[in-house]
Amino acid sequence: MLRTTILAVCLVGTIQTAATAQPAPSPPIASLRIVAPAAPGGGWDQTARAMRQALLDVHLVDTVTVENVAGAAGTIGLARFVKGVRRDEPALLVTGLVMQGAIVANQAPVSLGRVTPIARLTGEYEVIVVPAASPLRSLADLVEAFRTNPASISWAGGSAGGTDQLFVGLLARSAGIAPARINYIAFSGGGEALGALLGNQVSAGIAGYGEFAPHIASGALRALAISSAARVNGTAIPTLVEQGYDVVLSNWRGVVGPSRATPELRTELGRLVARLHDSPSWRAALERFGWTDLYLPAEPFDAFLRQEESRIESIVLSLRSGTNIGPLAPGGGRLFPALIGAGLVLITAALAVEARRRRVARLPHNPSTASLSGVAWIALGALLTLSLLERVGFVAASTLLFALTARGFGSTRWIRNVAIGLAFALAVYLIFTRGLSLALPTGLLQDPL
């Protein structure tokens, strides 16, 4: 196993150091933090990691760290970024249309107005498709059927309040149909909506062009419209605008800087991102991920954000008012909570009756011989870890947790336990941060190894 570990660390390590090894003239920004407000693997994370790679490849910055702060469509990452980053600290937060929608939908306490726009980078246009077997031949057919009986057209797309639903909302409004009457069916990612379309389970589907492109090319899906202002190179899909609907939407992604950033930092970050955008490494990333280049520098990006914000807000609110109307109502969002709540009440009552009758099932262990002090030591370790993890860093907190847990199991050889705990925590730290590029709190290890 040890050999496997070493192999793993070496293999991953060499590739990572190879990119950073060459010396370069010291740039104005030596180290940059990029916060991806999503879990590793998603679009925002990919953007952050592609930026990191490009910045390192062309030696624009010496070190770049990517942090993932996931949750609530990025609004948690945004709140943490606004609170935790100094106004002169070189740091970027990846953001996008989805975050704008979520800020309105979740009534998030922190809005995008609090951060400093730096640049819009990429985007993806939305397409409307129907299954190949569908009788609907054109957007006109689809809108006609939709107008006649809104509930009969089921629209499959991504999560509620996301780009796809905003897009149908905009289309409905432009066609003069109340957005609240859309029979929108939210699917989670990973191709669920695609499966429903290929299996002819739903009437129409919406997604980023890239997700459906191969299926449009193969003829399994028929594209009726694309959300760009002009036809996208290499496709014959008509835009909404040319079909008479004034809807243009891109699922854009960009970066913002710290709250109330100093003018110097703002200029510096803007210059950095501009040079990143021109680098061949970034071009390669655009190509690889199929992103459309929608670069906008700080000033126009700021204007774009403001304009987009009011449009998104109004459409989110008008979609929202309709969440309990229509065919969802019979089984709406209350049925399952009610069933589960009733079940819990019944079970608790039955457990109470059982306890009363003292017909307690044979316990695997007699609680009277419990070693309370052992659990107390571990609980202390857990509490200390919670309060110290972000202050003293992962390695120190984990060493403490290790030693206290060992004490909980009766070992009083503190020195040995601390030493082993330190070695173990350090190994885990290196595997996660260097091997897997997952950030852990550095704390006391200010100078990362």
Partner: protein, 498 residues
């Protein structure tokens, strides 16, 4: 058929060069190693290790990839068996009997049946993929929301077969999980439910947190609690170190049945290996003549689910390759990877890019063999982990649980949830509540609810949609049968005491 065989032979020939085999071993080792870490499931493992393969030419990259993929799927079983700490939900079924076996000194046999079962089922499923992918994928498309709801109900019904001695306690555990599943944004409307105004709770409670908390931390607290001073017994490795004749004869059928369940269910577009492993475990228990052994170290309870897990991993590839349809988070990562190598999955793949495709399929066979070659010799070594003194062993478990929880979304609240759930898990163990139903409730509850409401929306509000669609009706009937059969049998047994 002969064409397929010839193409496969070509693929194998292209894949089986010494350099490629080395990449395959490296991939399997890395995949297993990262898959072992708690909280890092197959999807994350694959996406984290993907950049490593980018520097290679496509054929080598695919070979390494096959190893990483199967390695990541297999990785979780080791810690599950040895320490009762599954790192993700798909290896949870293995915990029930696998860890019981380890406590009886049969860790090596449990690890071996998991490794060999993974190999056997993985190979069968890869064969299935080779010959049946397009047909299977077409069948999978017949599943819509109504069918998935029926399938989720079937799985919920199957849980009742593994609740242990007290049905009431099993249901309590299940409903605990179902209630946790309600927390967060309602995915169909975007409205927040039970999130107590805490923004971190808007995304709900991650299944991984519940698994790590209940199992890893819960086990640590429990062992510390029940430890009596001076009785520091190290788990024995005595007895048969390897699978006995009886182990073999008990294992081979569950392997085959696991493959038969895992492969088709893996192909369904609702993702995950939880339902196949659950159904496999439930089936093995149902088929056993002496059901009491289950939960107390029945090797069938390890062999079946582990086989189903790996077979599901191959099943996922059927709709992915044949339709370009990713059915799970891992599959979505794979799709992106294939596209980066210029392999465009879809109906045309078999005609347009046969060389790459067959190299890719061949690499799966090779990855499977490498996984076995790598893990079988290590079984004895792994089992020796149990010889570590408990203070150090559980110190390590706590550190790994912490890092696993934290790295999920970089939030200290997640670490707190894991510790709290650990306390709950300890209490549940002390009072005889089973763990697995809670985790399954958290997975299946949201699945059932979302699919139920999607089906209703598609059916424009009519609940008849569940009965009008034949597949859904059949699955619902099967769920009823599962719930009712034990009752009939029990009545029959009371009438006839023999």
């Amino acid at each position: 058929m002969t064409d397929t065989l010839a193409s496969l032979a070509d693929g194998l020939r292209a894949a089986a060069t010494p350099a490629h085999l080395l990449w395959s071993i490296a991939g399997a080792a890395l995949g297993t190693f990262v898959g072992v870490l708690p909280g890092i499931g197959p999807a994350l493992t694959v996406s984290l290790l993907l950049p490593l393969t980018l520097t290679l030419e496509p054929a080598s990259a695919f070979i390494m990839f096959g190893g990483i993929y199967y390695g990541a799927m297999y990785g979780g079983s080791t810690t599950t068996i040895l320490l009762n700490t599954p790192g993700e939900s798909a290896s949870m079924m293995t915990a029930i009997d696998g860890h019981a076996m380890a406590r009886q000194g049969r860790a090596a046999a449990a690890l071996a049946t998991a490794a060999i079962g993974s190999f056997v089922a993985g190979t069968i499923a890869t064969l299935g993929l080779t010959f049946l992918a397009p047909a299977l994928a077409a069948t999978a498309l017949l599943f819509g929301p109504a069918e998935f709801f029926a399938l989720a109900l079937l799985a919920l019904a199957a849980i009742t077969t593994l609740v242990g001695p007290s049905l009431l306690r099993g249901l309590a555990s299940l409903f605990f999980g179902l209630a946790l599943g309600l927390i967060g944004i309602d995915p169909l409307t975007g409205a927040a439910r039970l999130s107590l105004g805490i923004p971190q709770l808007l995304d709900g409670v991650d299944v991984v947190l519940l698994v790590i908390g209940l199992f890893a931390v819960g086990e640590t607290f429990y062992v510390a609690w029940t430890r009596t001073r001076g009785s520091e017994t190290v788990m024995s490795l005595a007895g048969s170190r390897w699978m006995t004749r009886e182990d073999w004869s008990r294992s081979w059928k569950p392997w085959l049945r696991g493959a038969a369940i895992g492969f088709p269910l893996g192909a369904l577009p609702c993702g995950g290996a939880e339902i196949p492993t659950l159904l496999s475990y439930s089936l093995e228990r149902r088929l056993a003549t002496d059901r009491d052994r289950f939960g107390a170290g029945a090797i069938e309870g390890v062999a079946g689910p582990e086989a189903a897990n790996n077979a599901a991993a191959a099943g996922v590839l059927a709709p992915l390759l044949a339709l370009g349809l990713p059915t799970s988070a891992t599959a979505a990562v794979l799709l992106a990877a294939f596209q980066q190598y210029g392999l465009q999955p879809g109906p045309l793949l078999f005609q347009t890019q046969p060389e790459l495709l067959w190299t890719m399929i061949a690499s799966l066979y090779i990855g499977n063999v490498m996984l076995l070659a790598l893990n079988l010799p290590l079984v004895g070594l792994w089992a020796r982990v149990l010889l570590l003194p408990k203070p150090l062993l559980f110190g390590g478990v706590m550190v790994l649980a912490t890092v696993g929880a934290f790295s999920l979304s970089g939030s200290i609240l997640d670490v707190a949830i894991v510790y709290i759930v650990g306390g709950v898990g300890c209490w549940m163990r002390l009072h005889g509540f089973p763990m697995a139903p809670a985790v399954l409730g958290l997975i299946l509850g949201p699945l059932a609810e979302q699919q139920f409401r999607r089906a209703l929306a598609i059916g424009e509000g009519s609940p008849l949609i569940f009965l009008e669609r034949p597949l859904s009706a059949i699955l619902l009937a099967a769920a009823c049968v599962i719930v009712l059969i034990p009752r009939f049998r029990r009545t029959a047994e009371t009438r006839d005491p023999s």
